[in-house]
């Protein structure tokens, strides 16, 4: 049987990958993907804890998160499309109309 610590370790690594992805990558779509990785790291945690604690609540929360992540991705992609139409670029660094 896979120990709980293995799941938590995987989810921690995924969370850090997502975190660094948002902070380092400059393409809007990859930033969006990194956010999704962070959400899935939380999902792995929730499902693993749910299994080991024999409580259903975690799986329930994970299902809610999957649904919300889909909604968030839809809104995010819609925003990217509208921005892309105006700028022909999805680079985060080129969004520089607003600063200081």
């Amino acid at each position: 049987m896979v120990p709980l610590s293995a799941y938590v370790a995987v989810s921690a690594v995924l969370f850090i990958i997502g975190l660094l992805g948002v902070l380092i990558r400059r393409n809007f779509i990859i930033v969006l993907m990194s956010v999704e990785i962070m959400l899935n790291a939380a999902n792995i945690n929730l499902v693993a804890f749910s299994y080991y604690l024999e409580s259903m609540a975690g799986q329930l929360v994970a299902l809610f998160i999957i649904a919300i992540a889909a909604g968030e991705a839809a809104i995010g992609l819609a925003i990217i499309i509208v921005v892309f139409r105006g700028k022909i670029s999805t680079n985060v660094d080129e969004m520089n109309l607003l600063k200081w």
Binding site: G18, L19, N45, A57, G76, I79, L98
Partner: protein, 495 residues
């Protein structure tokens, strides 16, 4: 498990808001453009109904009602925020009407999204389970991402929307990871069980501390506290002014409401740890917010930094609540936080309403320079702005002074007199940039290069609301007792 009528009845105001949102969005395509105002008035009517319902509950029996197997609890604390959120949303809709016409973004969805965001906020303030808190936050945030970018013809609005989305989703991810760790500790997402689990596991557990820090970071983004404030100025400047007002006021109030409930009801056992964390955050917020606000030339950006600074003051009240010991320890601090946010809401809404009204050659006059000589051409608008700026700066006899006074008193009572002194110094610094607006309005002549002098986009309803806001700011400054006792009566249900 089945849905019980009593559960639905407990959530009646939320149901009314969601239903009205759906009706408004559904009616939008079949409503002729000339009659879109009716949709706005329908929304205001629904809000008035909800306000009446919640007000009736407060006056008849202000007790805790749990619904949906303890996922939400409507108590006096939740009702305080609900009353505030209904009023703020109603005012936002009224001030949007002339603004949207002038900006030509008169869309029916606009009101639908405002109501959907409001329903998310209503869930946030009454949620006692991390799942419902997360759901409410997302419903609010996703609606706000869209509303920020609603002015599709302006690149700034789109850019603000994109930035808000990235940082909002990022903060939700961090918050969620903290929630998953807390679930692992407690085996439940209910705040009461989490408080119990922390009680048995002790506060030294590193996992507890990591989860607390992640949740604190996630909420700090939503509250716009330094160092997680980067999105605030960009989003506030780029968004349509009516949405900026809504963001600065309603989303901040709802985030604080959920934040306080999580940290007091769920993580109350760790208050020695988090009060130090938020002490540092509040000082950073005051320093950075005030210093950067001084150099701003765009008034929306200046008010964005001002909103960051106000979050810092609110956090001082919160830290005082965490430090307070004894039976009534946290009460003065939490009551001062609630009062501060209520007063902050009305003065900020008023200031944004005046900015939204100011038109310069068909364009929005956003630079502080555009206010030059306003007192000569539009004496009434200039006077309103004077009152709101004085209140934001905390000058007596306005309500802003009362708000700061109670926060500082709470800090002194909790043995943080030095913190109150630091905050007082920064309040004096902030008076500089608020009074600069007043100085420009009253003492400076408009530069000759400005072709068209500022005009006002207003309506009778907006004038009425502004008159109420000014009256409120001055009356609560002179007679704060009703608000103080309302806040004290609402805070008692928190431990």
């Amino acid at each position: 498990m089945s849905l019980y009528g009593t559960d639905l009845l407990a959530l009646l105001p939320e149901l009314i808001v969601v239903l009205t949102a759906c009706v408004v969005i559904a009616l939008d395509p079949v409503t002729p453009a000339s009659r879109r105002d009716l949709l706005a008035w329908l929304s205001v009517g629904a809000l008035a109904l909800c306000l009446g319902l919640t007000g009736w509950q407060i006056s008849v029996e202000n007790v805790r009602v749990s619904a949906f197997s303890d996922l939400v609890a409507i108590d006096a604390y939740a009702r305080f925020w609900k009353v505030l959120l209904y009023s703020v949303t109603g005012v936002t809709i009224v001030l949007s009407l002339p603004y949207l016409k002038a900006e030509r973004i008169h869309l029916g969805e606009y009101y639908g999204f405002i109501l959907l965001a409001l329903s998310g906020m209503l869930v946030m303030v009454s949620a006692v389970d991390l799942l419902t808190i997360y759901l409410g936050t997302e419903l609010m945030s996703i609606s706000l991402y869209v509303m920020t970018g609603l002015n599709r013809s302006k690149p700034r609005s789109l850019e603000a929307s994109a930035k808000y989305f990235v940082l909002g989703a990022f903060s939700s991810g961090i918050l969620l990871y903290g929630i998953s760790l807390l679930y692992g500790l407690a085996g439940s997402t209910k705040l009461a069980s989490i408080a119990g689990a922390i009680g048995t596991r002790g506060t030294e557990d590193p996992l507890v501390l990591i989860a607390t820090i992640l949740i604190a970071v996630g909420f700090s983004f939503k509250l716009a506290a330094v160092p997680f404030h980067m999105w605030t100025p960009d989003v506030y400047q780029g968004a349509p002014t009516s949405i900026t007002a809504f963001l600065a006021v309603a989303s901040k109030a709802a985030s604080f409401a959920a934040f306080i409930r999580v940290f007091v009801e769920g993580l109350g056992g760790l208050k020695a740890d988090w009060s130090i964390l938020f002490l540092i955050i509040s000082i950073l917020t005051l320093v950075l917010g005030n210093v950067v606000a001084i150099v701003q030339t765009n008034i929306k950006r200046m008010l964005a930094y001002s909103s960051i600074v106000h979050a810092g003051y609110v956090l001082i009240g919160f830290v005082a609540a965490g430090r307070g010991d004894g039976a009534s320890g946290g009460t003065p601090g939490l009551a001062s936080v609630m009062m501060y946010l209520a007063i902050y809401s009305f003065m900020t809404l008023g200031a944004f309403a005046v900015i939204g009204m100011l038109r310069k050659g068909g364009m929005e006059g956003e630079e502080i320079e555009d206010f030059a000589g306003l007192a000569k051409r539009q004496p009434l608008a200039a006077f309103l702005m004077l009152v709101f700026m004085a209140s934001l700066a905390g000058i007596p006899p306005t309500a802003g002074f009362i708000a700061k006074f109670y926060v500082f008193m709470a800090a002194v009572e909790a043995g943080l007199a030095w913190l109150a002194a630091v905050a007082l110094i920064f309040a004096a610094v902030s008076a500089y940039y608020y009074m600069r607006v007043v100085m420009v309005m009253y003492m400076r002549e408009p530069s000759s290069s400005s072709v068209a002098p500022p005009q006002l986009a207003t309506s009778p309803a907006l004038s009425f609301v502004l008159a109420c806001a000014v009256a409120g700011v001055i009356l609560f400054g002179l007679f704060p007792n009703p608000l103080v006792s309302f806040a004290l009566q609402s805070v008692l249900t928190l431990k």
